[in-house]
Amino acid sequence: MNELWVNGVRHALEVDQTTPLLWVLRDHLNLTGTKYGCGMAVCGACTVHVDGAPTRSCVTPLAAVAGKAVTTIEGLSADASHPVQQAWVEHDVPQCGYCQSGQIMAAAALLAENPAPTDADIDAAMTNICRCGTYLRIRSGIHRAAELAREA
């Protein structure tokens, strides 16, 4: 029996310890907002926060998050009110949307560390792939989210 804390809720699971967190979230907890893109930490679609740090859940075994707090897109805010989510809607960032949970989680983690990132900071932190090519709107969305957080 494994204990897992996700979005502030404790789960007790009978799942093999080596199972990647991504599939535990998706298939055992039905938290399907976190996406599978590559399975080898190269695309970022599966990004979640583990104790606040952006983490690629597809290569994170369940055992590695024991006793830690996992936050997924579903838990980023109760009502899509996180500044990154607001800015994403305002700037119409998503196209197909499939990469966007990961992009939003990566952007939220960046802003938590660095409330006023430069374009170079964004280039360095935002390594997630978007095949629809929404990068410019992701960039402007991050600047807008930083602004929203400051305004508040």
Binding site: T19, P20, W23, R26, D27, H28, N30, L31, T32, T34, K35, Y36, G37, C38, G39, M40, V42, C43, A45, T72, I73, E74, L76, S77, A80, S81, H82, P83, Q86, W88, V89, D92, V93, P94, Q95, C96, G97, Y98, C99, Q100, L111, A112, P115, I122, T127, N128, I129, C130, R131, C132, G133, T134, Y135, L136, R137, R139, L148, A149, E151, A152
Partner: protein, 711 residues
């Protein structure tokens, strides 16, 4: 600000924002579940008592914005209050049962808006007339004196909301529903944010991999590494003690494993010993194919277009130039790997997948299960990218075959490696060009021969009976440049790989090669590439000339640049639209290329939603740049070598240029495509810019494979 501060700030900002910023409440999280509450006014829309309007979308939402642009068309004609409109998928099964009520449901060829415009306007007009008639009857006034706007019908000072009229409107019949004059439209042509975006920022938007059904199990698959090969034998006993009760399903060309969770299924299929018969493609090698394609350029092709006497022109020419170009196979690499959930029962089969062609899915469902097509229920989902790949049905067929054997709902997921390797690639192509010039540098002869793997040979063999695949000579056979003597010929050369429609199809490789060679011709003639093209474009290419004029101005064409930096341009007409681009690149002395800026001018005639048009151009440029800079699928011993984004790299944030989009719209009756036209000019504009930066011509893609160092 530390993290705790930030979180507090976020919490406050949320409260403040709610006052200033409206989040649409009617986001569509599960597009396939008809929530259409209230009265169905006609097959295309429902109106609820609270005035909420649900508009049905018969095309696939894969990022191109049809969940917004198509409802805008209906809503404008209807006189709807846009802030209370939501979208959901139209039901393909109903369309089959009701004589094609949703018309063509496939989404491809950048046709969604331009093909459905007339019947979506008609659907909106029909619903509006019903509402007007219902109100007129209630008030005892002529319907012609009533007006509908903002979801309210008015007559003098009397008003009724659409929601109050919905039931009566559903019951009336209308004879005729004339369209509004275009001048009375208020929505079409305005920038509107996407309706489904709220569901795409909180994880609730349902892609097909997010489908969850009671009792559902998962399947993972391993295909023969050589496309066209088959399973010789499987040692299913090796999984006897594996967790998740894995069940092996043989698919002929692949094996699947079904288990309680995807990870168990994938781990089991990875571990499963399979012996393959690699089939006729066993020895395939993309290096060798490239040499064969090049050799075929030396042989005569089938003439696709001809004018004058190109041989005589070359003989009389003062000078000639020649160049060979090459473009590799490419994968679509949609962000969401292929996946499909099915529930096959004795009396019906349900299919949940992100699909570009639900009618083909029904046909495959009927074929595999033996049920009538009316018993096949496809449920389209949000597509995590389509780019043409999801026009096919190969993975749907696999899921259905698996579903027949498990008697439970089953979700099949292809790993990224399977998705990258198992085909339906953008074709490989070799292209040769020759041009002859008179003493004044005017082109008097132009010959082009292309050798390309045919897409249509595998889909509609009758379409290539002449020896020419029309999709392979797009932009080549219909050369816009007026040169007195031209010959365009083509050779089909297929390998064992399977090819398919890839965002902008033949235009991808043809725009690259043609527009780079035209640039070589301009340079040879000592002319500016804008001026050179203009001199060859007749009055019938007025749209292209207008695009070029705006492009030259908006791009600061010809501005002074330091060594290692250059501008390049290209223009291409396809899918009913003209797109021109200027790229500005910098190339380090060691040869590293950075695309700094891309200016795009588009003429798609008219626009429904300028915001999504801009987004599609940006997306098309990025998709085109990924291919130009990095994209190649290679084959050794018959098997595709690339498997994932580490060896099939694509554009990331740090690679991004500034992208500017400008519209030079022809207006009138012209409606051109948008999803694809932004892509073709990207590669040639960048390659032509690299030449100006380095003096080196790029004649083979991807750019990353070339030595572009300079001193």
């Amino acid at each position: 600000m530390n993290r705790r501060h930030f979180l507090r700030a976020s919490a406050t900002s949320a409260g403040g924002l709610l006052l200033s910023f409206h989040l649409p409440a009617l986001a569509t999280a599960r597009p396939f579940e008809a929530a259409g509450e209230g009265e169905e006014i006609n097959a295309w829309l429902t109106i609820a008592a609270d005035d909420a309007i649900t508009i049905r979308v018969a095309q696939s939402e894969m990022g191109e914005g049809v969940f917004t642009s198509l409802p805008m068309i209906v809503a404008d004609e209807l006189g709807a209050d846009w802030s209370n409109v939501r979208a959901e998928y139209a039901d393909p099964n109903r369309s089959l049962r009701e004589d094609g009520v949703y018309q063509r449901m496939g989404t491809g060829g950048s046709r969604a808006v331009r093909h459905s415009l007339p019947y979506l306007l008609a659907a909106g007009a029909n619903a509006r007339e019903r509402l007007l008639l219902a109100a007129a009857r209630r008030w005892g006034v002529p319907a012609g004196e009533c007006k509908a706007a903002n979801s309210v019908v008015t007559h003098n000072d009397k008003t009724l909301r659409f929601g109050q009229l919905a039931a009566a409107a559903a019951a009336v019949t209308v004879e005729e529903a004339p369209l509004k004059p275009a001048a009375e439209r208020t929505l079409i042509g305005t920038s509107q944010r996407r309706l489904e975006v709220p569901a795409k920022v909180d994880g609730s938007a349902a892609f097909s991999m997010d489908v969850r059904l009671p009792g559902m199990v998962y399947a993972a698959v391993k295909h023969c590494p050589v496309i066209g090969g088959t399973v010789k034998s499987v040692d299913a006993a090796a999984l006897a003690s594996a967790p998740g009760a894995p069940q092996v399903v043989k698919l002929g060309h692949a094996v699947a494993v079904v288990a309680d969770s995807y990870w168990q299924a994938q781990s089991a299929v990875d571990a499963l010993p399979v012996a393959w018969d690699n089939g006729p493609g066993a020895g395939g090698d993309s290096q060798a194919w490239r040499a064969e394609f090049a050799a075929a350029l030396d042989e005569p092709g089938v003439v696709a277009a001809e004018q004058g006497d190109v041989g005589a022109a070359f003989a009389a020419a003062e000078s000639t130039i020649e160049a060979d170009y090459f473009a590799p196979y490419l994968a679509h690499a949609c962000m969401e790997p292929l996946n499909c959930t099915v529930h096959v029962q004795a009396h019906r089969a349900d299919i949940w997948t992100g699909m570009q062609n639900p009618e083909a899915a029904m046909a495959v469902g009927a074929e595999v299960t033996g049920l009538p097509a009316e018993a096949i229920y496809p449920h389209n989902c949000f597509l995590g990218g389509g780019f043409g790949r999801r026009l096919n049905t190969d993975w749907i067929r696999e899921a259905l075959v698996i579903g027949q054997q498990v008697e439970r709902p089953v979700q099949l997921i292809w790993s990224r490696a399977e998705d990258t390797r198992q085909g339906f690639f953008r074709p490989m192509s070799a292209l040769r060009f020759k041009a002859g010039f008179d003493a004044d540098g005017k082109p008097i002869g132009y010959a082009n021969h292309s050798v390309t793997h045919s897409i249509l040979a595998g889909v509609r063999p009758d379409a290539v009976a002449t020896g020419i695949d029309p999709s392979s000579v797009e932009g080549l056979a219909n050369l816009p440049y007026a040169i007195a003597n031209t010959q365009v010929s083509h050779t089909i050369r297929n390998t064992h790989l399977t090819t398919w429609f890839w965002r902008s199809v033949g235009a991808t490789q043809n725009a690259f090669a043609r527009e780079c060679f035209i640039d070589e011709m301009a340079a040879h003639a000592g002319q500016d590439p804008f001026d050179f093209r203009r001199a060859l474009l007749g009055a019938e290419h007025g749209d292209t000339l207008r695009v070029l004029a705006m492009l030259e101005e908006k791009s600061d064409w010809g501005r002074a640049l330091p060594p290692g930096r250059g501008q390049g341009m290209a223009v291409f007409e396809a899918f009913g639209s003209v797109a021109g681009q200027v790229a500005e690149v910098s190339v380090s002395q060691s040869g590293d290329v950075k695309v700094e800026r891309v200016v795009c001018v588009l003429d798609c005639g008219n626009v429904v939603n300028p915001l999504t048009v801009e987004e599609q151009i940006e997306g098309g440029v990025v998709y085109g740049l990924s291919a130009a800079l990095f994209g190649k699928i290679t084959v050794a011993d018959g098997a595709v070598a690339e498997s994932n984004f580490h060896d099939y790299p694509v554009m990331r944030m740090t690679d991004m240029p500034v992208v500017e989009t400008h519209l030079a719209l022809a207006g009138g009756d012209k409606w051109g495509g948008v999803g694809e036209p932004g892509l073709p000019p990207a590669a040639p504009a960048v390659c032509n810019a690299i030449w100006r930066a380095t003096g080196k011509r790029v004649r083979s893609l991807p750019i990353a494979d070339l030595d572009l160092s300079w001193t």
